[in-house]
Symmetry: D2
Subunit: 337 residues, 4 copies
């Protein structure tokens, strides 16, 4: 994959802004995210808790929504202006994608927003106007948990990464930082890491049964915070929530810890990746079966890491999207089923 710059769209996506996770027990989920991981509750209503991280100035970066079954409610990307919403609305309409306007305040602390069902099958929200809240950044005496600073990215399991890349890179203007190819001749694209903000990713697409949300990544300040997260969770009796890590990724260079929340939704605590300030950064290629790709130290991920992922709400929110199998292997050859 070359470093060719994407065509410039007539809108500007800034970053992954927040994610809505569905949980079956709101208090149990709050005990995990707020009580143990130290997210800060900004506001709540009957069915939703709006949480933010320590570096956030936006009203929320994680929404927990009470539901009958766990899963992804929606992913939200922030855009640079209100006009960008209209441009995206035109684009979605032209493509025949389902759309609807979210009224100001329908999601607490947020202005007008556009919801679409994207070509990959995910419910995606674009928003600009958002309520500013005090940053906790220098309220060090109020830090709790492993110091979750901000949402970093979403990782999406999809049956067709080529199609997903086309949408994100060629249409939405995301840049590619790293990618994985199969061992075939010629190799096929297996996964891709794409960014708008200037680090390794805002969104990763990974071959697998989908559409599913593989995980939401949150950013920690330092590698010691990753260790601290594991200590806190185990001490509180949540050792079964630690699915993988701590470890270092080959891809992205990040230190990571993968957790499963009480509903099984997967969260990555993530830090120590790198800056990409140049749109012509040359994407880094990895082979699927390189043992250092997933964990630089050579440890394989457990099968559950490939098997399990969160189902994705339908656009009307009443159900979950059907799962389609990928046309190629969903994991390295050295990982079992």
């Amino acid at each position: 994959m070359g470093a060719s710059m994407p065509p410039t769209p007539d809108f500007t996506i800034l970053k992954t802004g927040h994610v809505e996770l569905r949980v079956t027990d709101l208090e149990r989920a709050c005990a995990f995210y707020d009580g143990l991981l130290g997210f800060v509750e900004t506001e709540r209503d009957d069915d939703r808790v709006y949480l933010r991280c320590l570096e956030d100035w936006e009203h929320h970066s994680l929404i927990l929504t009470r539901a009958d079954a766990p899963g992804l409610g929606h992913i939200a990307y922030r855009v640079a202006s209100e006009r960008d919403l209209d441009a995206l609305h035109r684009l979605a309409t032209e493509r025949g994608l389902p759309t609807r306007w979210v009224e100001p305040g329908e999601e607490r602390g947020q202005g007008r927003a556009l919801r679409i069902q994207d070509p990959l099958g995910f419910p995606v929200e674009f928003y600009h106007a958002v309520e500013r809240v005090p940053r906790m950044l220098q309220r060090f005496h109020e830090y709790r948990g492993p110091h979750v600073m901000r949402v970093d990215h979403v990782n999406l399991q999809v049956p067709d990464v080529d199609a997903g890349t086309s949408w994100y890179r060629d249409t939405l203007g995301f840049y590619c930082s790293e990618y994985t190819e199969t061992e075939d001749t010629p190799p096929r694209l297996w996964a891709v890491w794409l960014h708008r903000k200037q680090n390794v990713h805002d969104v990763a697409l990974m071959t697998g049964p989908g559409p599913r949300l593989h995980h939401v990544g949150f950013w920690l300040p330092e590698s010691s915070n990753v260790l601290r997260a594991a200590d806190i969770l185990s001490a509180a009796g949540y050792e079964a929530s630690i699915e993988r890590g701590p470890g270092r990724h080959g891809i992205s260079n990040a230190m990571f810890l993968y957790l499963r929340d009480p509903d099984g939704n997967r969260v990555e605590l993530y830090t120590c990746d790198y800056l990409i300030a140049d749109p012509d950064f040359e994407p880094i290629r990895w082979r699927l079966n390189d043992p250092k790709r997933q964990t630089y130290w050579g440890h394989p991920a457990p099968p559950s890491w490939f098997n399990d992922a969160s189902h994705v709400a339908t656009f009307d929110g009443d159900g979950y999207m059907p799962i389609q199998a990928p046309a190629m292997a969903d994991r390295p050859s050295y990982v079992g089923h």
Copy 2:
């Protein structure tokens, strides 16, 4: 200072790309930057050593140039394309600023570049084409020193911060992250932190006798690396090179260590600031005499930190720019002279 977005210029500056420091003893300077701080030598010729950091994919981010007197050779900003160089050339010419084209290879590893003398009096280079070299990022076994990852910013002492801000923000399109005002009524702008890449700054402007280069900031991965830098320098007999810190800035939230190289040029080792992915990030205001502004833990900077700075080469490179005094105090009231 509001969060109003700057006008969009017809060129795109990406980041602070490299800095050229003049040193009187090239080997002595290499012993400091390469031998102790672990910069990696990419190439050298008779009078210049081209160094890069561990995360760099560009040919160099620091040039050491042999000279009769220490000082700043030039500051370089990378732009998004060759066309941006032409647009900047037009701008500089319209403004009546001295300009010249640097031929490909005149600076090793670099294509065509534009040099101008900016309205603040600094020799500034804009470049796009640059030789790609292997990143050291995952060559962990070859890391040396405190793990300097990349150039982060320059800090410039100028007599008129308002004028400098106008150039950088209103003309070049930098965004303001934080700023300092005097205690006057109404308050006057005393310093400003401006960025193109998505962290707190690529350039800071600070009231003082100028034009002078106050320091070049390089980025470390974690706060423990800042402590390690101090240990290494002291152990090697360079404790007198440690001017200030380790400490945490109120401004930028960064952990820092200020060093003086063997010629007295000042280097900041810097980490743990924050991401600014939103152009409408609301700039943070500080009062000049707030004791937590400079060092969040309340420690004053030593007078030398305000008194000393590197002289700036004239545009023809034959001498150094004359120094002009500022119209207001160059330091907080609690710092002596």
Copy 3:
């Protein structure tokens, strides 16, 4: 000072066990030690709060006692057995030192203990029997503050370090790890670091007006915890409590942060010194004016660090010991008054 082993006394002192500090406002002191530094309250009565650290299995390692004036209540060393108390009682009586038995429970959570006024003028307690309480060590989810693990040492300002060394080393059987000599010919002993447990010190003696308690040192797990302590205190508005550091000592190699509690009693947060498992460890000599002695990075301590120290309760507890000036300089020549 040679590595000669001290004569073996007929008792065994194990370690510095706890310290009693007098404070004028018990709630204000608790807000500092418990609320910000994360000490754990084991028990309290009307005039005393018994605190412990995260690694402690003993009932307390810090006692805060309500008093009209701040100062040191007593220092306590744990001994290996009840018989050791009797041996120490015989020793003190032979030396004509004031003694009294503390009844079981008179100090909460503690059995019979011996109080003496030592030859240096300090109220010292020896104890063996103590109530065991649950360790917090692996209750990581309940850690607060910068993670204070245990009491490490006391530092005592005395006018005659030779006499103090004779008592601690030659009579009580402490081992010397490091020491400081003046620049005189021949050099004179200026300070000494003495230990029973196997790290650099349980007690340090430093030339100065005394008897005074210079500080109590508490142990943190890692250097990042020292930085975290400074962040927490400043964020909570206690930046004026940060007197010195963070820094690394030349002596002891430890990372440190010196704090003043709300009554002015000085606390050191301390980590990263070294193990001394050998009684014939050769003590390390430092010159008083070596700039790397106090702070390895070359920074001088502020004058207050030499000027201020806690007064020491008289043996009957009704007043404070008179202060005697030392016969030699109380600080390096490069530190002002």
Copy 4:
């Protein structure tokens, strides 16, 4: 297991002093220990390389010896005086254990030493006199690798932990810090952590086919050094040497990384355990199948960690000790074979 103090023997063992590992390719082993892990070579002869760690003042703490097959050459404990060697010689003779005196200089940098074959079948050396060499502790600019500070402990696989505990605790005077019992009724002793120096262990005994050396533990300053070790090894192409971790032990509370040297000998990098300054510290009990016992975060150790261990030289050094199977399971029920 109660906290009852062991009978006081008429000798004093101070600590685990050094270990001799046999390797089949001396240069390959040096490339691992010196080149990657940063051990410092003190001296070498034709068949041996004497290495030390950064905090060491003794001539060596690790000996690599050229041999036809890998394995343990000997374990060495330092004693407090020459007289202790004679007392230990008497003890060994009374017990009918094989003994021999090692002449001064036969092992470089060491005085007279006593070798015995202990009742567990291990070749054990006791020594007191040793050459002092400069500590690297504050030569921070010469630190390499993950900063290995000192030898911490040996872990021995033996078929009968009860018998081994009797020798170490009841005869040699080691203290128990932690222990593991089976799930039987009544529970049986499965493993024990024993110390002379004041941290969790100098030696651990673990049920398994033996006598075998399970691993040698070396101490790192901070948990970040453990991560750094993994990064260095993987970057250098030694990812297959990383057998287990990084992780935190439930037992000992330490952060760990288990490595296999190029001959398969196992090394643990270890830090963040705790101080035990009190001989009446109450030993901590663990159940064999508690998932947090081995790795506090709940991850099982790989089967190889239980299957593989280093053979132990016979007392004459000409061969390796026969292996005897244990009478009970050699691993938790949740770890496969």
